[in-house]
């Protein structure tokens, strides 16, 4: 694990769990989905990140300080979530530290929850969820479950680093990406993603409350979305729209 990033465990951490990631990205899909899972599955904080690479901030909850990057869990699920946009300069060590920590707890699978932006999103009634995987066996598994595969293209951001590091270290990993708004918080997309998560894993959550609270979430998430947009621009996130030129 990187010396610049420490993961401090505060509770007993389950071994052999599925580890999810919900980081600020397009439509805040991952963060909204993560936040819903924490409340629906009653996940509790088991660890947090400590690093000088993170912005100099703490998040206050009920008057007590918390790291902006925390890991929640129960007996079979771990969920890493960030309440602040991670800058392009620090995203590598942050993601590597989380993945290496997950490997040390023998996670059986890592799943990144995020979005894939589409134009005219407000006119789309049925949102699709796509997947990419760290190896061909996992890719076949998601295909067999009926999930559409993201066949060609670029991936930018936390999920890109997760996929690459997991592939390099032989950790089974999936990136789940729901169609969403680029720069507006998208609770509907988060709900679609959670439905697909339930399809490919044992992690199941009722999304009705998430959809009911859609407007409240959109209003609350404006500031995180705004700052995330700033970091996405530094990461050249729009490269995901580019048509790739493959050298085979």
């Amino acid at each position: 694990m990187s010396e610049k990033v420490r993961i401090i465990e505060t509770k007993r951490v389950p071994h052999g769990a599925v580890m999810l990631f919900g980081f600020p990205d397009v439509g805040l899909v991952g963060v909204i989905a993560a936040s819903h899972l924490i409340s629906e599955l009653s996940l509790t904080e088991v660890a947090h990140m400590d690093s000088k690479l993170l912005p100099p901030l703490i998040v206050l909850h009920k008057g007590l300080p918390h790291s902006p990057v925390r890991i929640f869990g129960n007996h079979d699920t771990l969920l890493a979530v960030s309440e602040t946009a991670i800058s392009a300069d620090t995203i590598y060590p942050v993601m590597h530290a989380l993945i290496d920590w997950g490997r040390n707890t023998d996670v059986k699978m890592m799943i990144s929850m995020s979005g894939i932006p589409i134009q005219d999103r407000q006119n789309v009634e049925e949102l699709k969820v796509f997947a990419a995987a760290s190896n061909s066996e996992i890719l076949k598994m998601v295909q067999d479950k009926g999930v559409q595969v993201l066949k060609e293209g670029y991936m930018v951001g936390p999920q890109a680093i997760m996929m690459q590091h997991c592939a390099n270290t032989d950790v089974p990993a999936i990136a789940l990406l729901a169609q969403c708004f680029f720069n507006y918080p998208d609770p509907e997309a988060a709900a679609e993603l959670l439905k697909e998560l339930a399809n490919i894993s044992e992690i199941k959550a009722d999304v009705s409350k998430l959809l009911e609270k859609g407007e409240e979430i959109r209003l609350k998430a404006r500031d995180v979305m705004r700052r995330t947009q700033h970091e996405m621009s530094k990461m050249k996130k729009t490269q995901e729209f580019d048509i790739p030129l493959y050298v085979s």
């Binding site: 507006y184 407007e215 409240e216 209003l219 979305m225 700033h230």
Partner: protein
């Protein structure tokens, strides 16, 4: 005797672009480093986006809690649009769990500058899934003939 080395044109260009990129970064920081609410005017600033196509400028605004028949789109001069929407209910700071501020918000409001000339008298707008979409046809200047 001065030891100042004469700079090449490339160094001057590099410095120009470095300064330009620093300025752009500062400008972006200034835009982002301000609260998105104003408790004097009881307004919240919504997220918005602007896209320029060959024929029109499309502005979208995310308006959670907006009352559809209380949305106002108003041109201010030739290159500025003001958007305001009354919310279905008042939102208080304590609903966000914030007890350090007091106040309540009734309106979503923002202004957006339009980067190219448009016909502000030909605005069309629609509201779907909480997103306001404004279309402004572009004014095209005389085209340059290609020989």
């Amino acid at each position: 005797m001065s030891s100042k080395k004469r700079r090449s044109i490339f160094e001057i260009i590099d410095e120009y672009f470095e300064n330009l990129s620093e300025w752009a970064e500062r400008f972006r920081e200034e835009l982002i480093e301000k609260p998105t609410w104003n408790n004097r005017t009881c307004t919240i600033e919504p997220l918005r986006n602007i896209m320029v196509t060959p024929t029109e400028v499309i502005i979208t605004v995310d308006l959670p809690y907006a009352e559809e028949n209380e949305i106002r789109v108003e041109p201010i001069g030739s290159d500025l649009i003001e958007i305001s929407a009354k919310m279905k209910r008042k939102i208080r700071f304590d609903e966000f769990g914030m007890t350090q501020y007091e106040g309540e918000f009734k309106t979503l409001q923002c202004q957006t500058r339009i980067p190219v000339p448009v016909y502000t008298d030909k605005i069309e707008a629609n509201f779907k899934k909480g997103i306001l979409e404004i279309h402004l046809p572009r004014k095209h200047r005389e085209e340059i003939p290609i020989e």
